[in-house]
Every structure is written in C-alpha cells, then in structure tokens.
Symmetry: C2
Subunit: 347 residues, 2 copies
DNA sequence: AAAATTACCGAGAACGTTACCGGTAACGCT
DNA sequence: AGCGTTACCGGTAACGTTCTCGGTAATTTT
C-alpha cells in the first residue's frame, strides 16, 4: 500500500482542468481566474501536494538554490554573515547550500564545481586566506551564474563582479588611531597573506595612522601570519625578539587577536598594561575574554544582507538583458560598509 | 552566440551510440564495454560535460542532497560535527544543505519542511534547546526520508530512529569526579532545559558522582539556563546568593562555561582558586581563555561521521526492503561515543 | 552442435514541471 | 457590425536523466 506523492496532474484531473492551469495557479502566476486558483490551492493543501523542486528546476532552468562558500565553518563572523544572507534570500524562496573551502584555494575550486553541478542560481563567496587567483570565479561567470564576493576579496582582480566589504582601510586606521589616542607609541601589526585585500587595506590604514601621527612604521613591527591558528605564534615571536618591543598590537582579525592575547599571557605579559591588543571583526566572543577584546566591529549580518541583495540584482539584470535579447555586460561594483569601534578592556 | 550546455545526448550523437549507454558509462554502471566507457568519459571531459543533478534526480528519484539541521551556526561544536558529516558523505557524492533552527522548535519545523520540499535523501538533525516534541520528525519518516538525530536528542522519544550521542552520563560523571579528585567539595551544576536529554544525563552523572563520594546534591546547587547566552547570568546569580557558595561549577557545555568564567571574573572571583569551572564540549576556544577551560572532550567530528554513516545504512536498508517488496520496519538505534577529559587551568 | 549464458547495447517511456503557442469567449471600441 | 483587446485556459513539447525491457552477438556449457 504505497501512496504515490500527489502531482500537479492529480490536481488537474480531479478539478478537470489542464496541468498548465494548475501549474500557473500553484506558482501564483498571471492569467488565471481567482476562483480556479483558489480551488487549486485548496485541493493542493488538502491532498498534501508538494511541488517537486527538481522537476520545476529542470523545466525552468532555475534551482532556487544559492551557494555560499566560506573559508571556515567555525569562524563566528561568517556565521553572522550567513544570517544576513538568509534574512534576505529566504523570503524570496531561495535556499542556501553552504560549503567551505577550509582556507585552501584548491578546495575552493572544488566548491565552485560542486555548486555549478548543483546548478545553483547564484554564488556568494568569501575567498580563502590562500587564494591567489580568481580563475575559478571566471568559470562560474562563463556558465552565466552570477557571483558576488564578500569580505575576503582579491585586490587586483579585473573580474567585473560585485564585491561587498567593510571599509578595511578605515578599520585599520581607526584601530591604530584608537591605540595612539590611548597613548601607545610602538604599535605593531599582525597581517595576513600579502595577496589578501583586507590585509593590504588594513595595513595601509595602520601605516597611514602611524605616519600622520609622526610615528615611523618600521618593517620590524609588521609581521604576517599565514593562517588563523598555528602561525600566529611565529608572528608574535618575531615581535617579541625585538630590542624595542611593541607596546600595542593590532591583529588582522579577532581570531588572531584571541590567540595573541593568550600567547602574551602565557609569557606573563599584562594586557593592556604592558602590551595592548586590538582585533578587527567584532566577534561576540571577544566580550568573554579576560581582558575583553577591543575591536573594530564589522557589520557582518548587514554584509550578508547586502551581498545577497547585490546577487539578486545581478540575477535580475542578467535575466532582463536576456529577455530583451541584449547581451549582459557585467560590471564591477565595490560596496563598502561602515565600521565602528567597540572599546573594551584590552586597550 | 550562446553555447548550449553539452548533454548526454550530444555525447551520444558524436560517438554514435545511444543515450542509455552514455548514461551508464557516466554514472559508472555495469554492463558497458570498458572501451566505450573510456571514450565516453574522455569526450565528456573534453567538451566539458556536466551532469544535470536536477534531471538525474528527477529520473532516479534521488537528489543526492542531505539536509543538516543544527540549532546554531556559530557554535563551534556543530562546525566540527559538520566536518565529520562531510568527510563521510562527500566521497559518496552527496552534498549538504545546512539550515539552522535558531534554537526554536517552530523554526525547526520549518527547516524540516524546507528540506522535505527539496527532496533531500536524508536528514541529520540536532534538536534545539527548546524542542519538546518530535512530531516534525515523524513527518519526515512518513515521507520515507530517513532521519538520524545527533547530540541533542529527546529523552522520551518513541520514534524508531537512529540517534548518536556521546556518553552524556559519563561526561557529567567524569567532569564532577575530576573536580572531586581535585579536592572541591561544593560543586554546582548549570543545567539546560528539563526536556533536553543531554542535560538530564549529564546531570545524572553529576549526581551519581556526588553521591558516590558522599556529597549531597542539594537542589540549591543545580540551576538551569534556558539558552547559551542571556540566562547564564541569571543561573549564576542564583548560585552566588547562596549562603554557602559553591567552590566549583560544572557547566552543561563549553559556551555556557565561557560565560560563567567571564561573569565570575567580573565579580572579581579568582578561577580556579575561589571557584573552579568545568565545561563539556571540548571546544578549541577553551584553550585560549585565561584561565583555559578544563572540559570533557566530545568527539564531534567522529559524531558527524558516525551519524552520516548511520544515515546511509538506514537509506540502504530502506532501499533493500523496497526492492524485496517487504515493508521496512524502522528501528531505534542509540549509539554512544566515548568521551575524554581535557585538563586545563580552570580547575 | 545445440542450448544456455554472458556482455553489451538500444528504444522508448517515464520523472513532474514549465514554456510556448494557440484558441475561445466576452467585452469594449469605433 | 466588425475589429481589436483582454482574460482565461489547454495541448504539447521541452528539460536531461534514468529505468525497464528487450535484442543481438559472442562466449561458454552440456
């Protein structure tokens, strides 16, 4: 006694109308009598009809799936971004398929492939720490699936795609400035990989702040880390062997700052008395540390919201162009979100 | 100049064979000459053929999508679980669609609906803090999509579905025991909602350890929290107004423990000198705290792996039953994973 | 040498929906 | 009265696979 799942045909038969009409009614399209529409909807509800996304997708060449690629699952910042993405996309009937690149360029490529295979309608991506090229993004563009990059973008990319980031220069600048205002003088910066746009910009902000206040930016004080975990210690080591040790440290982001705090404490260095520490991210977790972490807040959720919005815009633009028979000319957009200071105990 | 995406038909035409054969070759099925198979695969690669998951799913009634429902995106534990799930499922060609319930039963229901609409082949779910019934799981069962619950399960559920958890009793027991061994005497327990199985069991473990060591378990020392954030403070308050304050606290999980540490420090209470704190989860983050958090490690990744494994088993069992014309009789399975102590500075 | 088995392949019907086009009836306009 | 609109609706062909069944030739078995 198996109960076949009801389909559009069953409804059509029982109501003695055509499948076309039922289809139109179901998806709330134009050209259908309110009366019949009501009847269809009621019967559908009654017999527990569920539209097959698969079949619908196949026929309409849309999947109503949006792919999201993030570098790491456990970074709180990305969790908040996804919240914003959902907030925008869910009401529109899109679902999310979330994959992570594990901070590796190679895996990132695979992620793109997976999503393309799934025929997602669009892709939202934040690049991994180690991504140096965006050829894989190009691939997506060639398949005509719109893509927008958020937060972690590539500096020199020529690709005409939308990007949404925070004002990273300003973040670096304000962080450094805050420290200077607090009276710190030898301020160090723990950067990320060279190719990383956020690293470049935040560093630039740091440099500018230092120079405007008459402090040099000796190369000693700028050390890179290649990931969020292991190499933070090495970076810090470089700082601590200097003859003149820094009295404050700006970390590229909060996860790095957390580790810096911990490592300094292990050395018995008091924060912020001996050395102050600043993060950039605005993770909630920073509040729980002892001392709690002063940081630059990034509007993560808003970023997700805006990125999703840009994606839908782009999708619509592509569709419109196609309908009018024109070819769609993709354009680069760079949207910067404002940041703000969260002062806590570590500075 | 639009380039239609190559399909199975294109390959068939160019190789002058039938689509059936191409299909078989592509999906590596039986009954196809190795020679032609090779040719198909090569041509497919050459012209950049991508199989349409939509069409394949429609025809085969499989989506190769597995839904994962977790209570919160930003809890590290779940991030690790997902890693394990991926590890098992990816090689099998499944992709994950991750949704979160925001710790609300209502949203959890919606999540199930979304996944069912997507025609996922299976569902992995960890219940929200506030889920009291599992009727929504029943719904999934009725649609014949297999489901397995991990970590956060319901105590009294009669549903014949697989569950995988850690040995929560043992976790509570070992945590408490560790504290006792360290010489603490008035040990408090911060629990979760009453209906939560992990809370019940860990509490039971706590009680047993206390009693076996001749300590009473006065009701004062057991306080509940309803979420991972706000109400932790209230729970702690109840403990701190006692005439005889506790000298150690076991928290239901690490996120709660983090907050406890912070709140105690704000009151100027030294950890672990005045009060010791223990978590249960094994979050990496615990290492970064000051003092670092002693915790019971849960094999999160393994849990994901095992849960995924059980899911696939169940899927196969259902398929086999169907093929043999029998009806599938679902059975409950409860798999317990072993835990271990991570001793750090907070005790 | 006949029969049975095996290895491989093809035809064609699903799968459940949407897109496209055409048609009818009713209505309003000149 | 004739004509163009509008509001609905239906038929049918996609969409790109997989599945079932059957068929042929080669190979093995008896």
């Amino acid at each position: 006694m198996k109960k076949r799942k009801p389909t559009i045909k069953d409804i059509a038969r029982r109501l003695d109308i055509s499948v076309s009409t039922v289809s139109r009614a179901i998806r709330g399209a134009e050209d259908v009598n309110p009366m019949t529409k009501k009847k269809v909807l009621e019967l559908a509800e009654k017999i527990g009809y569920k539209k097959s996304v698969l079949a619908a997708g196949l026929a309409s060449k849309k999947s109503y799936l949006i792919g999201v690629i993030i570098p790491e699952l456990t970074v709180p910042f990305f969790g908040r971004v996804i919240l914003g993405i959902e907030q925008f996309l869910k009401p529109l009937g899109y679902d999310l398929i979330i994959v992570h690149s594990d901070e590796q360029e190679q895996k990132e490529k695979e992620c793109i492939d997976i999503l393309l295979d799934r025929q997602v309608d669009g892709i939202l991506i934040s690049l991994s720490f180690n991504t140096k090229s965006d050829l894989h993004l190009k691939k997506a563009m060639e398949e005509e699936v719109p893509i927008v990059v958020f937060d972690r973008i590539l500096p020199k990319s020529e690709l005409p795609i939308p990007r949404v980031i925070v004002d990273d220069f300003e973040a670096g600048y304000q962080a450094t400035n805050h420290l200077i205002n607090k009276g710190y003088k030898r301020i160090a910066f723990i950067a990320g990989p060279e190719d990383l746009y956020i690293s470049q910009q935040r560093l630039k902000g740091y440099r500018t702040a230092m120079e405007r206040n008459g402090f040099g930016t000796s190369a000693d004080l700028i050390v890179p880390t290649l990931d969020l975990r292991r190499s933070v210690g090495q970076a810090l080591d470089k700082l601590m062997v200097l003859k003149e040790k820094p009295d404050a440290i700006v970390a590229l982001n909060d996860p790095i700052a957390f580790r810096v705090i911990r490592l300094l404490q292990k050395r018995g260095i008091e924060i912020p008395q001996k050395i102050a520490v600043m993060g950039i991210s605005g993770d909630d977790m920073g509040e729980l540390f002892n001392p709690s972490l002063t940081t630059i807040n990034q509007p993560a959720q808003e970023m997700g919201f805006v990125a999703a919005n840009l994606l839908i815009d782009r999708m619509n633009a592509m569709k419109d162009a196609k309908n009018q028979g024109k070819i769609f000319i993709p354009m680069a957009i760079l949207k910067k979100l404002p940041i703000s200071l969260i002062e806590r105990e570590s500075t």
